[in-house]
Point group: C2
Chain length 226, copies 2
């Protein structure tokens, strides 16, 4: 029961974080909107822009032009980026737990002798999933934009690593932001879920590195004490 | 002696990482150069571009135009970004240790009763240092570029959060990449050291969050066992 309670609290914390991040997103959208009335700053466009700020992708396809816009954008980034990072990390961690659970069950079903799921297993799964995700995404973007398959793959890669050059930006051609809500939804979810997968992979790699250091130190201390 | 040895090994590992990252940077620079012979792709410009890729700033002021350039850029990012992340994290960690040491000595000199350095102390120092760093950097960039102070501050902020919109990019006006090596050196070091400070701050925040979770779990386990 105790464990369940703690799980609930964790979930609630997570939910609260999402809610506050969303509220902030909303607030931003209405504040930034007035000074430019193009299609770029209607709700979906402003949402897209906010997303590129707090995920640190920063395509630069639309940027604040006024001084007050710049100041607000900086405050927004200051609060939004850590919130976003914590959200992605906590969801990524749960994704790892879920994949570990699935792998364990699969191994049990296959009646393998060693049912333990190692870090290397998880990293392999993350690599395969990420590649699959990139190739599928590239296919969809080739369909909706006038890009070659390589360009679409390049776009997905540059976006999900949060480099975001801005030489290829989705949702900019054919009035897509206004006329194609399904494509808009797909793009935003593609970015959000993709970043979660990357966070999960990074969580594995960084945690491995951190624990390696800590284990070294513990061993050193033990040997120094002996 | 054991501790010293381990410190040396750590330093060597760090050094190796830096060396391999640098070698890779070099290799990239010579590979990317041939297809465009402007000032943008001479050594400093190519170095600057590589830096924006592996730090995930990605201004997009210059991007690969050919298919092979794009493919190489993706491979480069795939290897370079984790290397860069680990390097910044490990240097940031050492920066934290160093600041803790300094704070402890200062407190001892001031003959304060409580000489312990808390996490909150460190976070406060990180905040003050970052603000100071941003304000100073903005001053220097105002001097070298034709930007207002707010624009320069906005540039520094957007760069060091690795958003990198690319609406303001240093080293692009007045032929600075070729004619002003001191300014080029300053900009590159400003970015590298700034990102280290941010990494150190993030290290504090994220580690605090991670340990919070782990402590919760340990307490839960203990209570479940009782
Ligand atoms: K970026
Ligand atoms: K960018």
């Amino acid at each position: 029961r105790r464990e369940l309670n703690s799980e609930e609290m964790k979930l609630r914390t997570k939910y609260n974080i999402s809610i506050s991040a969303y509220d902030e997103l909303r607030a931003n959208i209405w504040k930034v909107q007035p000074y430019k009335n193009g299609r770029q700053w209607k709700f979906p466009g402003a949402f897209y822009f906010s997303l590129t700020v707090i995920t640190t992708i920063g395509y630069g396809h639309s940027t604040p032009q006024t001084d007050s816009g710049k100041v607000f954008c900086m405050w927004y980034a200051l609060v939004g980026i850590p919130l976003c990072l914590i959200m992605f990390q906590s969801v990524g961690e749960r994704l790892n737990t879920f994949v570990t659970f699935l792998l364990k069950h699969t191994k049990k079903c296959l009646r393998l002798k060693n049912c333990e799921v190692s870090q290397t297993n998880l990293i392999m799964v993350a690599t395969i999933l990420s590649s699959f995700y990139l190739f599928t995404g590239a296919g969809v973007f080739t369909h909706f934009e006038d890009w070659s398959y390589l360009d679409a793959f390049y776009y997905c890669f540059i976006t999900l690593t949060t480099i975001g050059f801005g030489d290829y930006v989705a949702l900019q051609s054919n009035n897509a932001l206004q006329d194609n809500p399904e494509y808009v939804t797909f793009s935003l979810i593609f970015i959000l879920f993709g970043l979660t997968v990357i966070s999960a992979a990074m969580n594995l790699l960084v945690l491995r590195f951190l624990t390696m250091n800590t284990e070294d130190e513990q061993r050193d201390e033990l040997e120094a004490a002996a």
